[in-house]
């Protein structure tokens, strides 16, 4: 940080500030109420996940990935399993792929719901949080019934699934989908037409498509800037090419548009889940892979569309049971970098909205 001008001041935000969603610290340089520069201090939650990976076998490491983006543990697990399967040149069975899609999309809904509730809370709307947590609970119940865990699920295994579906899984998922779309409309009724909500978010934290690309920003932030890019469409994995769904976009790239994009994404996830659950193939849940996971020497980069953007795993194998190097390309870390651009010239109160709208999880930023 450079020297201060006589009419500038420095404000420390976080790491304990509730609106920073964890342990993010931002040093804001202010000219009156306006932000002239930001400096993100991260790493408070750094656990050395990539180092741990080198000291665990491929199978042992799988539960650790859930603890990065702990709000979308299923997505993390899917990306990791796909990356290891790529290295082993294995593919999950059709049944496993369909179940993976259902659980991952449910997790996307859960992640967006928590985002919506807390984002609204940051802005000053307390009510939506109670409703979004109520619906999220239904999703977590399905996870709990499936694998016993609600948050750090470890639902998948390299090569497929650990568990066969429980009796009534399809019915529970269908009944959730059946009532959920009306709930999304309810959130819209609470917020979209609310004048305070609109005025508070319109034109705040604007980032255009070109700048998104220069920063490597992906996910809803990119789509709200008008780029219809979603890895599920661009480079389908786990059978996403079989399902019909749209990639919601908006054009102005501000906080309000990102809100609309995420709401629409929840609706699209419901569409995908309904198609998948109506037609889960029968057959084994695990592909025939070696009991000891030992990918041949080589390396691969595999990425998926996590709720927050592109989540990538770059794994270097030296032919042993332990990864030689495992790199996680976290969407939150890369997206957070654009905060400086989005907050430039903003009011301090808007910084709260901008942090919320990027939708970061510090467990993933710091790893």
């Amino acid at each position: 940080m450079t020297a201060l001008d006589s009419n500038e001041m420095v404000l420390n935000m976080g790491p304990q500030h509730p609106s920073t969603h964890g342990v993010l610290r931002i040093v804001l340089k202010l000219d009156g109420e306006r932000v002239t520069s930001t400096d993100c201090i991260i790493g408070y939650l750094h656990r050395g996940v990539e180092k741990i990976a080198e000291n665990r076998t491929y199978v042992q490491f799988a539960p650790y990935v859930d603890r990065m983006d702990y709000l979308a543990a299923v997505s993390n697990g899917l990306g990791y399993c796909l990356a290891v399967e790529k290295l082993m040149n294995a593919v999950a069975t059709p049944r496993a792929q369909a179940v993976r899609v259902i659980l991952t999309e449910l997790n996307r809904i859960a992640s967006h719901l928590l985002w919506l509730g807390t984002h609204a809370l940051d802005i000053g709307a307390i009510t939506p949080l109670f409703y979004t947590l109520r619906e999220r609970e239904a999703v977590l119940k399905i996870f709990e019934n499936y694998c016993g865990a609600r948050l750090t699920t470890h639902a998948f295994r390299i090569g497929g699934l650990q568990y066969e579906l429980y009796d009534g899984f399809e019915k529970e998922v269908e009944s959730f989908c059946g009532q959920f779309l009306a709930k999304v409309d309810e959130y819209e009724e609470l917020l979209s037409g609310n004048r305070i909500w609109r005025e508070r978010l319109r034109g705040v934290g604007v980032i255009d498509a070109e700048t998104c690309k220069r920063y490597g920003v992906t996910g809803p932030v990119l789509r709200a800037a008008g780029v219809a890019w979603d890895l599920r469409k661009a480079q389908p994995y786990s059978g996403y090419e079989q399902y019909e769904f749209d990639v919601p976009t908006r054009t102005s790239g501000d906080t309000l548009d990102r809100y609309f994009v995420r709401l629409d994404e929840m609706r699209q996830s419901v569409r995908i889940i309904q198609q998948a659950v109506a037609n889960i193939p029968t057959g084994p849940i695990m592909a025939k892979i070696a009991k000891v996971v030992k990918p041949p020497v080589g390396e691969a980069y595999v990425s998926i569309e996590a709720p927050k953007g592109e989540l990538g795993y770059y794994i270097v194998s030296d032919g042993t049971t332990h990864p030689y190097r495992l790199r996680v390309r976290p969407p939150s870390f890369v997206n957070l970098q654009a905060l400086g651009h989005m907050a430039q010239g903003a009011l301090v109160a808007d910084v709260v909205a901008i942090i919320g709208t990027i939708d970061i999880v510090l467990g993933e930023v710091d790893r």
Binding site: I42, H46, G48, K51, K213, G298, E310, Y314, R329
Partner: protein, 168 residues
């Protein structure tokens, strides 16, 4: 799966413009990658961005091979929205050697390069903000190097800042 040669417009473009700096162009598991000489890395990123549409720098990371010379390998993952293609560029970096910074070409390289420095100690020449990013600034050692043990830490830092004998 074996590594097979990577043919097509991209490797042709790289070879035509960067000549002998392109050391290898291959495919492994259908994923293309090129190995370049380190000084050609930033020109290659610029060339691929302006002439082949690789406008999204996905990731920068490194791998430590203590027995190889040069010791480190820098890995750049690129994606083109127009082509819907993903490629990797790799270059060796010796211990103590400075890699050129990619920030002038891709703004997103800023934090990614800081993380590579933080974890491997590879410095980037011309980086606008060369600080550690995840570890505390005064931390000694680079955790993702192979000679850095998993329970190792900077005891001096822990004692001074956390007021405990050891974190283990």
């Amino acid at each position: 799966m074996a590594t097979v040669p990577w043919e097509g417009p991209i490797p042709d473009l790289l070879r035509a413009r960067l000549g002998a700096s392109v050391l290898e162009t291959s495919l492994y598991l259908d994923q293309p990658f090129a190995v370049l000489a380190l000084p050609a890395m930033v020109p290659a990123l610029e060339l691929l961005r302006s002439e082949a549409g690789f406008d999204y720098l996905v990731d920068i990371t490194a791998v430590d091979y203590p027995k190889r010379t040069p010791r480190f390998e820098l890995v750049y993952v690129l994606y083109s929205y127009g082509r819907n293609e993903r490629i990797r560029l790799k270059a060796g970096v010796a211990l103590g050697e400075k890699a050129p910074s990619a920030v002038p070409v891709h703004l997103g390289a800023n934090w990614l390069e800081r993380e590579v420095y933080d974890m491997f100690g590879i410095e980037f020449a011309g980086h606008p903000d060369p600080r550690r990013i995840l570890m505390p600034e005064e931390w000694a050692g680079f955790p993702l190097r192979k000679d850095y043990g998993i329970v190792e830490m900077d005891n001096r830092w822990v004692q001074a800042n956390l007021g405990i004998e050891s974190g283990q």
